[in-house]
Symmetry: C2
Subunit: 418 residues, 2 copies
C-alpha cells in the first residue's frame, strides 16, 4: 500500500515556501506510489499534537495557487525538538503519529535546525523498527545553508531589498539638496550579511546608492562609519545605508539588541536603523530618514524573484522524486551550472552534512573597506533575483489563497509538546 | 513666438510624479504653440537660481521612461517661498528668470503650499506687466488636497500599504501560535489618515488583518488600544496594526515626535511603531515585530497603482491643454464619475480654492470604535489602487531612467534664495 507523506514548514516563513509545498503536493498527486500528503498544522507541532492537515481535500486550483501565495499556508513554528538525550519522548511521539497515519515519508521544509531534526528522526525511526524516509527541503531567507548554492526564499528577499534600495535611493537623491541627506534601510540577516549584500545590487555606478552596507561579518567601527557617511554626502550629496539587523561591534554586541530571545535561543533583533540615525544626527546634524523592512521583506510575494519561485517549486518536487527513488536523510540542493548565462540543476546533499552548519558570506564578497560588495558577490547574487513572477490580482490586490486546512481524525492520546 | 514652459516638482516625491512630468513634456512636444519645457533643478530653487534643465535634449524614449520611474527626475525641494510681504524679492526674481528665458507658463507640481505659490506668482506677474500662465498640478501621497477626488501619488502608496499589510498579515498568521503575535506597520500621513486607511483594504473578512488602524483623526487612547490588541490576539490568535505616523493623543502630542522640523515648519515624524510595540510588550508581554515603511512606500514604483499612473499622466497632459486653452491660476483635478464601475475625468479648480486647504478624511470613513474603515471608505479607496503598471526589468531590477539634466545657459546675475 502507498505510504503517506508528512510535510511540515519550519521557522520563519518566506515569499516562496508555499511554492515548495505546491511542488511537493503537485508532484505527489501525480504519483501512484504515494498516498496522501498531510501537512503539519503549525509545522512540527502539528505532528506532535497529531494535528494533520489533509491536503487531499484541497482542489488542484487551490494547490496551484500556493505557488504565488506567501507565508506558511499550513502554519509554521519556531519549535525546536530537544536533543534525543533530553527529550526522547518527542521523537518517539513523532514516529508513533507517523505510524498511526501510515506516514512513510517525512519532509521537513526549513533551515539548519530543521535538517538536524529530520536527520535524527531518520536514524531514530530505523532504531524503532518503523523506518521513515526523511527528506529535508531547504528554506531560509538568510541563505545560510551549506552545500546548496543558495536557499529558496533568499532570492525573493534579495530582490525586494535590491529594488527597495534602488527606489528609496532615487527618492533621497531627488530631495537631498534641501531635505533628507541620509537614508538607512534595515534588513534581516542575523549572522550572515547575504540580505544586506543584496542591497548592493542596486548600485548602478560608483556614486549610486547604496553608499554604505553594514554586514554582521564586519565589526562595526563607529568613527569609520560616520566618516564614510560624511564622505558620501560630500561627494554625492547624499548617503544611502543598508544595514543588516545583525550589525555588531567587534565584541559581538549587536548595535540594537531588542532583548527578547526566541525558542531557539536566538536574540530577537530590531532597531539598528534608528540607532544609526541617532549617531549620524548627533555627529553630523544631517536630516535623516530610516526604514525597517522587517516582515515586509520576507512576505513580499508581489516582487518575488522568478528564479526563486522556480527553485522553491523544484526542491519541493525533487523531495518527492528523491523519496520515490528510495533516497533517505538527504536534502535537494541547488547546484549552479553556470553564472554567465545562469543555469542551475537540482542535486542532493546528505542531511548529516547540512544540519547545524551555517554558511557565512565569503570574505571575498565584501570590499576592502568593509562597506560594499565586490564584483564576485554581484556575480553570485545577480542571477538569484532575476525574473518576475507576479501573482494574479483582483480589485488591485493579490489573490492569495487560503486553504481549508481540514484536520485528519485523531487516533492517538493527546501529547503536550514541552 | 511660442513661449516656454517652466515645470517644477515640489515637496516629497512620489512613485508617479515623473509620470506627470512625462504627461507635461509629451503633450508639450506635440504642440506647435509651445516652445521648450524647462524643468527646475531641485524644484522652485532651480528657478530662483536660474538652474533650468532643458528637457528638449532628452530623447523621446527617455521622456517616455519617466512614466515608470519613481522619485523626482529633476530634483524636488521643500523650499517654501515666504509671503509676498516678507520676501517680495523672490517673486520678482521668479518673474525675472521667466522673462529672461521666455517662459510664459509656470507649472507647479506639488501639494497645497505649492498651489498657493503658483497662485501668487500668477497675480504678481500680472502686476509686473509680464503675465505668467500658472497651472498647479496636484501631487501628494497624503491625499489631502481639496476639490480633486484624490491626489496623484496617493493611489500607489495606498496600493503598497494594502499589499504590504496583506502580505505581512499572512506571515504573522502563519507563525502566531508559537512566535510573533503582534505586528505593527508604520505608514505616512502627517495630519490625515488616508494612507493608514488604505491598509484597511487588505481586510478580506471580519477576522482578517489589519485588526487595528490608528488614524491621526482619532485621539489615541492607550488603554483602549491595548484592550483592542488583546482582544484581537484572543479572538484570532494575532493582531496586525497599521499606524499612521501622525497618530496622536487627544492633546495633539504625536506618539513619536522625532523633534526635527522641516523647512515648512512641519514636525519630522518617525518611530510610532516601536513606541506602540514597547507599550504592547510592557502590558501584554506578546512577542512583537514592527516595520517602518518610510520612503519605501512612496518610492515603490514596482507596485504602483495602474489607476494612479494614468491619472498622474493625465493631470500633466491636462496642464498643457489648460495652458493652451488660455486658462490661468487653475489646477486640473480628478473628478470621479462613478464608483461602482470606476470611471473618472479631468476637471478644473481655481488655485485660490485649492491653496492651503487641507482635506481631512470624512468621519464616516472611520468605524465607530475608531480602529477601522467603513464600507464607505472602501468604496472610495478601492478603485484608486486598481490596476498594475509594472516597470520594465533587466537583470532582475527595474529599468528606471536617469536623465542628462543639461542646464540652460544662465543670463542673469546670481541670486541666493534665503
Amino acid at each position: 500500500m502507498s505510504k503517506n507523506i508528512f510535510y511540515a514548514q519550519s521557522g520563519g516563513v518566506t515569499a516562496v515556501i508555499n511554492a515548495t509545498a505546491c511542488g511537493v503536493i503537485e508532484t505527489a498527486r501525480k504519483s501512484r506510489k504515494i498516498g496522501k500528503v498531510f501537512a503539519g498544522k503549525n509545522g512540527i507541532l502539528g505532528a506532535l499534537r497529531e494535528e494533520l492537515i489533509d491536503t487531499s481535500v484541497e482542489s488542484n486550483k487551490a494547490i496551484a495557487a500556493l505557488r504565488h501565495t506567501p507565508s506558511g499556508a499550513f502554519g509554521s513554528c519556531r519549535y525546536k525538538l530537544k536533543s534525543l538525550e533530553e527529550n526522547e519522548a518527542e521523537y518517539h511521539r513523532l514516529v508513533e503519529v507517523f505510524k498511526a497515519h501510515d506516514i512513510g515519508y517525512f519532509f521537513y521544509n526549513g533551515g539548519g535546525d530543521s535538517q538536524d531534526t529530520a536527520n535524527k528522526v531518520s536514524q531514530l525511526s530505523l532504531g524503532m523498527g518503523y523506518p521513515i524516509t526523511c527528506i529535508g527541503i531547504p528554506k531560509t531567507v538568510d541563505n545560510d545553508l551549506p552545500i546548496t548554492d543558495n536557499c529558496p526564499g533568499f532570492g525573493s528577499v534579495a530582490k525586494y531589498v535590491a529594488v527597495s534600495t534602488m527606489e528609496a535611493g532615487l527618492d533621497v537623491a531627488s530631495m537631498a539638496e534641501s531635505s533628507t541627506k541620509v537614508f538607512v534601510l534595515e534588513v534581516m540577516g542575523r549572522h550572515a550579511g547575504w540580505i544586506a549584500a543584496a542591497g548592493g545590487l542596486a548600485k548602478s555606478s560608483a556614486g549610486a546608492p547604496p553608499h554604505v552596507i553594514l554586514f554582521p561579518e564586519v565589526a562595526f567601527d563607529k568613527a569609520k562609519f560616520l566618516a564614510k557617511v560624511k564622505d558620501s554626502v560630500n561627494k554625492y550629496g547624499f548617503c544611502v545605508v543598508v544595514a543588516s539587523e545583525g550589525a555588531q561591534y567587534a565584541d559581538g554586541t549587536f548595535l540594537a539588541d531588542a532583548g527578547a530571545k526566541d525558542a531557539f535561543g536566538h536574540t530577537q533583533l530590531g532597531g539598528v536603523a534608528p540607532t544609526l540615525v541617532d549617531m549620524i544626527k548627533a555627529e553630523h546634524g544631517y536630516k535623516c530618514h530610516w526604514s525597517v523592512a522587517d516582515y515586509l521583506q520576507r512576505a513580499a510575494r508581489h516582487i518575488a524573484s522568478g528564479t526563486d519561485v522556480e527553485q522553491a517549486y523544484a526542491v519541493g518536487a525533487a523531495a518527492v522524486e528523491f523519496a520515490l527513488a528510495g533516497k533517505n536523510a538527504v536534502m535537494p540542493v541547488i547546484k549552479r551550472r553556470s553564472t554567465k548565462k545562469y543555469s542551475w540543476e537540482i542535486d542532493e546533499a546528505p542531511l548529516s552534512k547540512v544540519a547545524n552548519v551555517e554558511k557565512m558570506m565569503p570574505k571575498s564578497f565584501i570590499t576592502k573597506d568593509g562597506f560594499g560588495i565586490t564584483n564576485k558577490a554581484r556575480d553570485y547574487l545577480s542571477p538569484l533575483i532575476q525574473g518576475e513572477d507576479y501573482p494574479p490580482y483582483r480589485d488591485g490586490l493579490p489573490q492569495y489563497v487560503q486553504l481549508q486546512k481540514k484536520l485528519v481524525k485523531k487516533k492517538l492520546r493527546p501529547f503536550n509538546p514541552s
